[in-house]
Subunit: 394 residues, 2 copies
């Protein structure tokens, strides 16, 4: 992955992970870096989320500190003090106000974070533009089985700009829950208002369309930083025609990262793409797609390589959206299995069973009531998921 | 379990289950039997549901036919013909119109039901008042690991009346999904309008408050029949003071059956009771309770006997209901673990860990925003669930 002009970072170990692995990422950003962000809507969100929302209100950020191994969530007033101390220490290093530093944490919930490990480490760090993206991704990981990154280079108003992002998905260090984090950087010169618009749209087509186990984190965060180092004309209007390729590239980076998270879902063996068409509207299509993606019975059937399409029917039925039983159509791996509310004439399971043995499963469902459509992605539900989440201390 | 005056039944094997086990229950009811019913709200419901709703409109039923091993769901026009043929054959035996016979099916979805096995069996059956409730429960089971029944005897206006019910829960014969069915019979003399009121209330406190895996069947059905054979004064008003004990007994029977379904949930090793208080209203409390009960991460933690209360915080957060992070309180097994948005002072995990090793887990959550409350029940998520649902054909 290429460096992003203006983005300097240092991935280090500060002692939060017991095995001495990378667990702290410190990012330095140039003055006037614009930022956009999307956060968890959990009612139990971490104090880092409250802090970052405040920074986001200014539209600008000078730094970013991310730790793994402890989510600093449900930690009361002490947790708020941890965020303040981290931002103050980073501000000292960067020569900026604490309110210009964004903070993210991921890991165990409900345990106090020993902030001195972070504040002691920060002054000694020397963020560099050419630092390792792979190490950066590892520093924000919990038990992700591979580091996650994606980048694109694209023309914006005749100037080449870079978009590079890293993400982490679901995993365990100590017993805690999965937390999704993603950070995308660009040297494009785009106002934070436009960035926010672009990011919200990209997230709605990527991170908001994936599911590993239907559980929603207290710390989910996606941030997009634009350093403005690229020498094209400043973009301050979301409708600016020069944004077309940039928008597409940003969407691709977000989707690539989102797919990597699903592929590394806890215990996942198969990557599942579910496309719903014929819905009342796009929102309804997404709701039905999520009902299928989150169904334990659908996910276990796929884990068992079982072409049990009756469970897809069940999941459509429970979604609470308009659907016509007698017009429902389902294909698996491009092969029609059901049409007009019944199995297709002379249904032969053999080719569908063969598709189920693959690593990439495609499901298409037409609800028969309108023109709404959506695609969502998930993984199967395996013994691995149970082992990771149940057997940790047994 | 006692016989219910007027209720005659015959549990038999008609050849739908490959191993020759009981798979058909035929129930004969006296004229003027009042009936109430509650059905799945799946948009993909079985044609049996449509049929039973029509019968229910009349408020009366003379017969009931239930088969296991095939859900007759998503079977198109042929599935409708199966229901009509079954009702016609049962009506011939009972000397009543087909429209006086209710039909239920449970088992695999999307496969055609060989109805001749049922219509051939019905004429030879001789329903009896003293037949075995245990056999009746087995005849409607799929791979439930035990037959489910509950009964109470109670005074109604000075007369002793009986309430007896059977139910089935989640299990597998061929790859299909769990289907919840329950049938409750009484000899009380109560109008169908009052029965419907009593049943709806009982279901809202019992069957509607349980979850095994968050997947909702296409065939869920709860029916309540009253033969009127008991010689108390006819009850035609829901506010009738004589109903007090009956209402309590009916609630108990429904709750008992609902708990048996949870205890026999696929792969279940632990029975979990979740009480939510301090919610905006009772509806919000139930929604939060369900979010906790349906969380794969909460359920796997309990399977692993891990007192990972951070996951309960997460589930509260994702429920989408009002909750105050800084007033949230959690107890497990009656032991306070978190209060005012943080772990309790000097939290000692040892007694909580000991509680987690038991078979009955109690969780109480106070949301700190109102006086709404609800209790829901679920089971843990184990390797057994994955094996039953994924490994069936591998």
């Amino acid at each position: 992955m290429p460096a992003v002009p203006g983005v300097k970072f240092a991935p280090v170990s500060c002692g939060l992970k017991k095995d001495g692995a990378l667990d702290l990422l410190f990012v330095s950003l140039p003055e006037a870096t614009d930022v956009a962000g999307v956060f968890t809507d959990s009612a139990m969100s971490s104090p880092t989320i409250d802090w970052d929302r405040d920074v986001l209100n200014s539209g600008h950020a000078r730094g970013l500190v991310i730790n793994s191994a402890n989510a600093n969530s449900f930690t009361g007033k002490a947790g708020v003090a941890v965020v303040e101390a981290t931002a103050a220490a980073a501000g000292d290093v960067l020569g900026c106000a604490p309110g210009d530093v964004m903070i993210s944490s991921t890991g165990v919930i409900g345990e106090q974070l020993p902030v001195e490990k972070i504040t002691n480490a920060l002054p000694g760090l020397n963020p560099e533009e050419g630092a390792s993206w792979e190490d950066a991704a590892l520093a924000i990981s919990t038990t992700d089985t591979f580091p996650k990154g994606a980048s694109r280079q694209v023309e914006l108003d005749g100037t080449s700009v870079t978009i590079a992002g890293i993400a982490k998905g679901s995993g365990m260090i100590a017993p805690h829950m999965a937390t999704m984090l993603a950070y995308v950087f660009t040297d494009a010169a785009i106002s934070h208002g436009v960035l926010q618009h672009l990011l919200q749209n990209a997230v709605n087509r990527s991170f908001n369309n994936i599911s590993v186990d239907s559980d929603r984190s207290t710390n989910d965060t996606v941030l997009l930083f634009a350093t403005g180092r690229a020498e094209h004309k400043w973009v301050a209007q979301a409708g600016d025609a020069h944004l077309r390729d940039f928008r597409g590239a940003l969407d691709e980076v977000c989707l690539d990262l989102a797919h990597q998270i699903v592929r590394d879902g806890e215990g996942a063996a198969k990557f599942i793409e579910i496309t719903v068409t014929g819905a009342e509207d796009d929102r309804a299509a997404k709701a039905v797609g999520r009902a299928i993606a989150d169904s334990p019975l659908v996910k276990t059937a796929i884990a068992g390589e079982d072409a049990n399409w009756g469970r897809i029917v069940m999941a459509v039925g429970k979604a609470g959206e308009a659907a016509d039983r007698d017009r429902l159509a389902i294909t698996i791996g491009g092969i029609a299995v059901a049409r007009d509310g019944v199995a297709v004439d002379g249904y032969d399971e053999a080719p569908v069973a063969a598709h189920m043995k693959g690593d990439e499963i495609g499901i298409e469902v037409d609800l028969g009531v309108g023109s709404g459509r959506a695609t969502v992605w998930t993984c199967d539900l395996t013994h691995g998921y149970i082992s990771i989440n149940a057997d940790y201390r047994t």
